[in-house]
Amino acid sequence: MTKWNYKGIKAKDLPKGAVIPEGGTAADYETGGWRTKHPVLDKEKCINCLFCYAFCPDSSVIVENGKVVGFDLKHCKGCGICAFECPKDAINMEDE
């Protein structure tokens, strides 16, 4: 969560020159609603090559300790790159 309180921001509180005074606030903005399909991981098949992580345009492949543990469905746009690029067919795109 952001520290800068911009929810319901009023004109008088706007930072000078439209500066956004904090980094990464877009993480609060959810793009998951754009999806028509979502990725589903088959852990049995996955070899943790992390290609899916590397090629995701939306930083939505969650990696913990070098292993894929799932997808950030708040942000994943369902582009299907992870599934297409997976060398082991460990990701399946399923309808929403």
Partner: protein, 394 residues
């Protein structure tokens, strides 16, 4: 100790720059401003200043460099003229919209075509509604003094806007005049250290500059706040001027009133012409004629109320514009003054003269012609020609 030197306007500006010693200068050469750039490059080469001097590949880039440097947290300056200022056009609006306190010197020169390197105020006038503060100087001393004060006005928390200071090309920029230069450490103390609110160069506090104002955003509100900040610059300029007077003994108002107390007719002019006009006023005064002069200093924001007050009661006045007004309503300064008078319900018979374009000599006889005309208007109460020209060849 302040020292007195015989130097050109351009060197006076370079001296002011050196005294302030900004962090970054992004600049590109153009006549008649080039000597400022050359002088500063010399200070850099001699190790006299710690400024990062970036010799850009165009004025558009020079101002883009200034925008980047100022957003990064550096005190930033530049200077230009004419086509250079025109090429910066896009960036002028961005610098003002981002509320970056960049300080620029514009050595006034005409705009092409035909190409002409001499003085008029067309370049500055093209930028009068870009959101920059604009300050005219009559001579080298004023150029020096105004440039130093501009730093404080720009960086004032109630303002936070870029400032453009002007002097006439060649007439002032290249002529040797007596200039009193302040001690550099006193100037540094006067401008103080610059502490920006949101510098890019702060690894612990990342910030985003130049964000996109999406649909339903705040563009309108930002512009209103920018307008308010520009208006606040009027009072701030006077606070700064008072403080500067303590340091230098030279006080600057919003504009200068010369022999206006009992004046019946007056001329309003900007730049070096005001100097010539003063001698004309003196001659009239010797002959018992109540002539006066108002010299524009702070042009943006325009001190409308104060101007109306200074003009009210005159029997007639002439406004001299050193830039072509392409519509029937006259030159830009004239239009400002006419609007100000109209809005306040004050009626002063007013005539406008376009003069001195492309460096056309401004002669005493031209100014006398203007005074003769308004003396006649004062007598008859009738204005024959609202907008006229001085010094046009037959």
């Amino acid at each position: 100790m302040a020292r007195v030197e015989a130097i050109t306007g351009n060197v006076a500006v370079a001296e002011a720059m050196r005294a302030v010693e900004p962090d970054v200068i992004g600049v590109y050469p153009i006549t008649p401003q080039t000597i400022i750039v050359e002088a500063y490059a010399e200070y850099v080469a001699q190790g006299e200043v710690g400024t990062e001097f970036v010799a850009a590949e165009s004025e558009h880039s020079a101002m883009s460099i200034c925008v980047g440097a100022a957003a990064a947290g550096a005190r930033t300056m530049t200077c230009t003229s004419s086509q250079g200022l025109a090429l910066m056009w896009e960036e002028l609006y961005i610098a003002a919209g981002l509320r970056l306190p960049i300080v620029m010197f514009d050595v006034n020169r005409s705009l092409s075509a035909p190409i002409n390197i001499h003085c008029d105020h067309s370049d500055t006038m093209g930028a009068r509604d870009s959101g920059w503060i604009q300050i005219f100087s009559e001579n080298a001393q004023e150029a020096y003094d105004n440039f130093i004060q501009a730093v404080r006005i720009a960086e004032h928390p109630d303002v936070m806007l870029p400032v453009m200071v002007m002097m006439d090309g060649f007439v002032i920029s290249h002529s040797i005049q007596r200039v009193e230069l302040l001690d550099e450490d006193k100037v540094k103390k006067f401008v103080g250290e610059w502490k920006p609110d949101y510098p890019l160069l702060d690894a612990d506090h990342p910030v985003t500059w130049g964000s996109f104002d999406g649909l339903g955003g705040f563009y309108f509100e930002y512009k209103k706040e920018q307008y308010d900040a520009l208006q606040r610059a009027k009072d701030v300029s006077q606070e700064v001027a008072k403080e500067y007077a303590k340091l230098s003994g030279r006080e600057y108002g919003l504009f200068e009133k010369y022999k206006m107390d009992d004046a019946e007719v007056a001329i309003v002019a900007a730049g070096s012409t005001a100097g010539t006009a003063k001698t004309v006023v003196d001659t009239y005064r010797q002959n018992g004629i109540k002539a006066g002069l108002i010299k524009i200093r702070l042009y943006r924001p325009f001190p409308a109320e104060e101007m109306v007050e200074a003009l009210s009661g005159l029997k007639a006045a002439a406004v001299l514009d050193r830039s072509p007004g392409y519509d029937v309503l006259g030159g830009p300064i004239f239009q400002d003054i006419q609007s100000a008078l109209y809005q306040s319900g004050t009626s002063v018979p007013l005539v406008n003269y376009i003069y001195g374009l492309g460096g056309r000599d401004v002669l005493v006889s031209h100014i006398e012609k203007a005074y003769e005309d308004i003396l006649n208007v004062a007598k008859t109460g009738k204005v024959d020609k609202k907008v006229d020209y001085l010094g046009l060849k037959e």
